[in-house]
């Protein structure tokens, strides 16, 4: 019984992983393999994350000593 459950779970995992791994390429299969494909994944946000990480603040502090 335990073995059967393990087998069943393993088959489900394998199927899910195989399908998710192939899904990104589904669109290429609808076109001509010999032509370069402009895939929409080329424009995903992750391909060009915002390059601005900000900078340290430049507000002046009161550094002088009493006169």
């Amino acid at each position: 019984m335990k073995a059967a459950a393990t087998i069943f779970i393993a088959i489900i995992i394998a199927t899910v992983l195989l399908v998710s791994g192939c899904s990104k390429n589904i669109e290429t299969q609808t076109g001509d393999f010999n032509e370069p494909q402009v895939l929409n994944e080329d424009f995903d946000d992750q391909a060009s994350a915002n390059p601005d990480i900000g900078m340290l603040d430049d507000s002046p502090v009161s550094e002088d000593l009493p006169q």
Binding site: A3, T6, I7, A10, I11, I13, A14, T15, V16, L17, L18, S20, G21, C22, K24, N25, E27, T30, G31, D32, P36, Q37, V38, L39, N40, E41, D42, F43, D44, D45, Q46, A47, S48, A49, N50, P51, D52, I53, G54, M55, L56, D57, D58, S59, P60, V61, S62, E63, D64, L65, P66, Q67
Partner: protein, 341 residues
């Protein structure tokens, strides 16, 4: 025995699924950009803490040695600045740069400026408080000590910011390396993009040598200049990428009557290039406008490429079914001729 072999086979299939799924994952590690942004916010926060601690430390010293000099406004400013820091910390923990920047600009800076001006005012008119020489000497020694601590605190944060900027550039270069590879595989010319990347990396090397040699005397000046340059180059490079992809889809988008989408993309590119070509000191929030256009343009390119592919497929299927009908007619004609013989 048979049961064990069967179990092994199933596990092998499962592992194969993992391996195949892995190779299809994007090479870009989105976590890196997020982690770097988080690190940058943390260093920026800690740097502000150096300033706030130094300012509050000075107020407390004046409260101890020259209580008459500290009015309620200055005394209350300690709690105001601590509240500001608590609020900024929430945005740091949420890795929310936009909210952090807004709060910094709208609330923290004005509060900090007020406290600084009040302290400066006390120091400039110090004689009016008739403090004994002995008290003044003790106060000045204490002020020097906390000023020394402040200086060390700030140097430490500048060095840390420098290392975060190094990691940021490594990640940015890696992302662009991957993007260029994809473009080349599709037959696009990436010469212009690669030249721009090489130019900004030359400037990056100058900043890196300062950080690595721990020569931080002019760090803020160089770091600010580099950031300005990097953002302008980044905008130029994004615009080049969009123009290159648009060029590749140009003839098909005309053929499938999708040219109006090109016009929208052109408007975004124009806004991005306006920013990229600007001169002069970087003004905060300038880049945000350019980046909004980058995101919109990418979204529209994504939709355009999907629609071009759809139309291309539809056209091919239509052509294939015409071809099959022609063949069927030819076969019928041939059989007819055969039977007439």
């Amino acid at each position: 025995m048979m049961k064990n072999i069967f179990l092994m086979l199933v596990m092998m299939i499962a592992l194969t699924g993992i391996a195949v799924a892995d190779t299809n994952d994007t090479e870009i590690n989105d976590t890196d950009a997020y982690t770097i942004q988080s690190q940058a916010l943390n260093v920026r926060y800690d740097h502000l803490q150096c300033k706030v601690s130094f300012t509050i430390g000075q107020i407390e010293l004046f409260e101890e040695y020259v209580p008459d000099a500290v009015n309620d406004n200055l005394s209350d400013s300690k709690e105001t600045l601590e509240t500001d820091m608590d609020n900024l910390k929430k945005y740091v923990d949420d890795v929310n740069k936009t909210a952090f920047d807004k709060y910094l600009e709208d609330t923290f800076r004005p509060d900090f400026q007020k406290a600084t001006q009040m302290l400066n005012s006390i120091k400039e008119d110090f004689r009016q408080y008739n403090v004994s020489n002995e008290t003044k000497t003790e106060l000045i020694d204490e002020l020097k000590d906390i000023r020394e601590e402040y200086s060390e605190c700030v140097s430490d944060k500048e060095f840390k910011m420098g290392t975060v900027m190094e990691r940021h550039m490594e990640n940015w270069n890696r992302q662009w390396g991957n993007a260029i590879e994809r473009m080349k595989q599709k037959g696009m010319n990436t010469t212009e993009i690669e030249a721009l990347i090489a130019q900004i990396n030359t400037k990056n090397q100058e900043l890196n040598s300062l950080i690595e040699s721990k020569n931080l005397t002019n760090f803020m000046k160089y770091a600010n200049e580099f950031r300005q340059d990097h953002l302008r180059y980044a905008a130029k490079i994004e615009a080049e990428k969009l123009k290159t992809y648009k060029g590749m889809l140009n003839s098909e988008s005309k053929r499938y009557n999708l040219s109006d989408r090109n016009d929208n993309i052109d408007k975004h590119i124009s806004e991005i290039e306006k920013y990229a070509q600007k001169d002069g000191k970087y003004q905060e929030k300038e880049f945000e406008h350019a980046w909004e256009n980058v995101k919109e343009a990418n979204k529209e390119m994504k939709d355009l490429s999907k629609d071009v592919l759809k139309e291309r497929t539809r056209e091919r299927m239509h052509n294939d079914s015409d071809y099959e009908e022609e063949n069927e007619d030819d076969e019928n004609n041939y059989e007819g001729r055969g039977s007439r013989r």
